[in-house]
Amino acid sequence: MVIENKNLLSFLYLSAILHFILFIGIVFFSKFDFLGDSNILGIKKPIQISQIQSSVRIDVVAMPQQTLLELKAIEKNLKKGEALFKEEPTEIKKIEKTQDIINKDDLVFDKEKKSDNLMSLLKDMSKKDIDVKKRQKEMDVKAKAKEAGAVVGHNLDGELKKLVLRGNQLSQGTGLTGGGDVSGDMTALNLYASGLPDHIRPYWKLPTYLKDKDYMCRIRIYLRPSGSLIKAHIYEASGNEEFDQKALSAVKKAEPFLAVPNDIQSRVSQGDIILGFPL
């Protein structure tokens, strides 16, 4: 194809030159980048980091019934997948069908007669529509709850509700705690990454002389589809080598992690997840 319009041609050349200058500029300034990674050309990539953090709404509704130690024990049990409160066996009684005998004198109220006007018809239609949506929503919620229950092996939602009844300040609440997102919308990668800390935390231990020193390091991990570790390296050092090594050791001890879902396998194997110790 030959471009004959001279104005368009000069515009394209100018655009290409400007982009080239922009490219050279980026290459030049990327040398001052503090993010340690580079691509295959040896050019440091600009990296966008998003931190997963969730917020919950909590209000103090009563003085806590459970002590801190009891709550910790409950938390441990939840992690182990044990039931928090044993469900009391419910007795199922067989109900024998009996024929309803209606005597003439039993009828107290006359059946309400429906009016056939246009307004009542419209009302009925909208009510039906709302009912269908409501039923659909209830089914979705139930399905989600079932899914969540299947992961931990028991009905977590029910247990938390029981905790609320026992006065442990968990409620829908109006006060927001945590700096994250309350919408609950998570990408597949974020959803997978948010499950990793639970695997690592049992191995994340520090001696007294390193705790409460406000050290922080970040570790970049590269995982195989099976969840096993390809490699892990210090992405941001804390300044204390022993602290960094303890964090790195916790990651290594915690593998293999959960199998990586198909749609994020390439990103997870390329090291798109960074673990913050502690943040």
Binding site: L12, F23, V60, M63, P64, L189, I200, D272
Partner: protein
């Protein structure tokens, strides 16, 4: 063709510019790795039975001290063993006869970092029966500081009120006593033959403030405020205004105290200059404001007020009048004795629940309300250790309808009960931990 090349280059540059998106996920705070500490006693031959017993006493003291910090240390003890460990710390205590005579023993102590195979602490002292416990706690604290880099509670003490002298008598007197943090070496401090209430220790551990309700019947039954100098043992009257003069606490500058006065009919919290005697109002509200507790830096004061109807905990800036008043507690039928932790991060308090008091804890920023005691009698009057790791409190057990036992207990700030510091010492209440 040239244009094609330019466009390809452009695409390549755009691809590189697009970069990558990383996701950071927080693992959270690490659990504490308990340090193994191996305490080994070597008693060299030639010591008399009494001196060998002194050696054992100092060894038991070390074991007991480190056992308080069970969240930090896994304590292992042995006698006369050769211990070869690759991790943790080995503390070797060697007891030999002293050159100073039979009333002394020579205590040699060495602490070895097993991982680095390096002696990190070494000391040799002549110890007599009189200074055995002071020296033992001091040695334990030195080792603790080397391992953790922080000061321990080992040389701290508690003051408390007990009726031991007149237990089961018609007119009981409740006097002030002092004991080591581990319950040893109890001694009486006051001799008023009255009822001592709400003691408080100064930041330098030299003075104790307390209020006194005298047993003799007077016209107005005043509750006066006194200060005891632990060094000179002298007592001075600080405030004897009409009504109550109580709940006094030292301000961080050491020159002022905050106390509750009711001489204007309504109980308010004031700052009193100990040198000039000048009074300054801190609270000014028609409700009753009592029980002040000031944070370490003096910028926050927790107190109890019935402003909302029930007794609830509030904080304010005590450097001015009614400045930045913030309600901390919103639940609980009756909350009492709010006490700031020395690090200023938490407030411990007692709350009436299930027909008894229990100890609760809340962060100074009003978050993380947690319960610490339950099914453990009625628990009141919490007081923090200087490192904010422990809470001493008084606990009441009902024995019969007419008899109850009060003792001072110690627990960790998480609610792990360490044990009683008093037992069979009458009714022990109002503990206050030294700084």
């Amino acid at each position: 063709m040239k244009l094609k090349n330019w466009l390809m280059l452009l695409c390549l540059s755009m691809q590189i510019m697009a970069g990558e998106e990383l996701t950071v996920v927080a693992v959270g705070e690490a659990e504490l790795e308990r340090e193994d500490i191996y305490l080994n006693l070597n008693i060299v031959g030639g010591l008399g039975a009494k001196n060998a017993q002194m050696g054992r006493e100092i060894f038991d003291l070390l074991v007991r001290d480190f056992s308080f910090y069970r969240s930090l240390f896994s304590v292992n003890k042995s006698e006369g063993m050769v211990i070869n460990k690759k991790t943790g710390y080995l503390v070797n205590l060697k007891i030999t006869p002293s050159k100073r005579g039979v009333s002394f023993i020579d205590v040699g102590i060495e602490c070895n970092n097993n991982q680095k195979n390096k002696i990190v602490f070494s000391e040799q002292q002549d110890v007599s029966e009189g200074n055995l416990r002071t020296l033992g706690h001091s040695l334990a604290d030195s080792i603790f500081q080397i391992i953790t880099g922080k000061k321990s509670i080992f040389d701290s003490f508690l003051v408390f009120v007990s009726d031991i002298e007149t237990r089961d008598k018609n007119s009981p007197i409740k006097e002030l006593y002092q004991m080591d943090f581990d319950g040893y070496r109890k001694k009486r401090l006051t001799f008023h033959r009255g009822t001592v209430i709400s003691p408080e220790i100064s930041k330098d551990n030299r003075y104790v403030l307390y209020s006194l309700l005298k047993n003799e019947v007077t016209k107005d039954r005043r509750v006066n405020l006194y200060m005891l100098d632990l060094l000179t043992k002298k007592t001075s009257l600080i405030s004897s205004r009409k009504g109550i003069n109580s709940g006094a606490v030292f301000m961080p500058d050491g020159k002022h105290i905050a106390l509750t006065l009711s001489h204007t009919d309504n109980a308010e919290i004031y700052a009193l200059n100990l040198e000039s005697g000048n009074l300054r109002k801190i609270t000014n509200h028609f409700a009753i404001d009592v029980d002040p507790s000031v944070s370490k830096d003096g910028t926050l004061m927790a107190f109890l007020s019935n402003r909302p109807g029930d007794a609830h905990i509030y904080t304010l800036d005590p450097r001015s009048v009614e400045k930045d008043v913030t309600r901390v507690s919103y639940v609980g039928k009756f909350n009492a004795t709010p006490r700031f932790s020395p690090d200023g991060k938490m407030i411990a308090f007692a709350s009436w629940l299930d027909e008894r008091f229990d100890i609760f804890r809340i962060d100074a920023n009003r978050k993380n309300l947690v319960r610490l005691t339950k099914d453990f009698g009625s628990n009141e009057d919490p007081t923090w250790s200087s490192d904010s790791q422990f809470i001493a409190f008084s606990s009441q057990r009902i024995i019969t309808t007419s008899k109850a036992v009060h003792n001072i207990y110690i627990m960790t700030q998480e609610g792990n009960i360490i044990g009683p510091a008093t037992n069979g010492f009458g009714m022990c209440i109002s503990p206050r931990w030294s700084n």
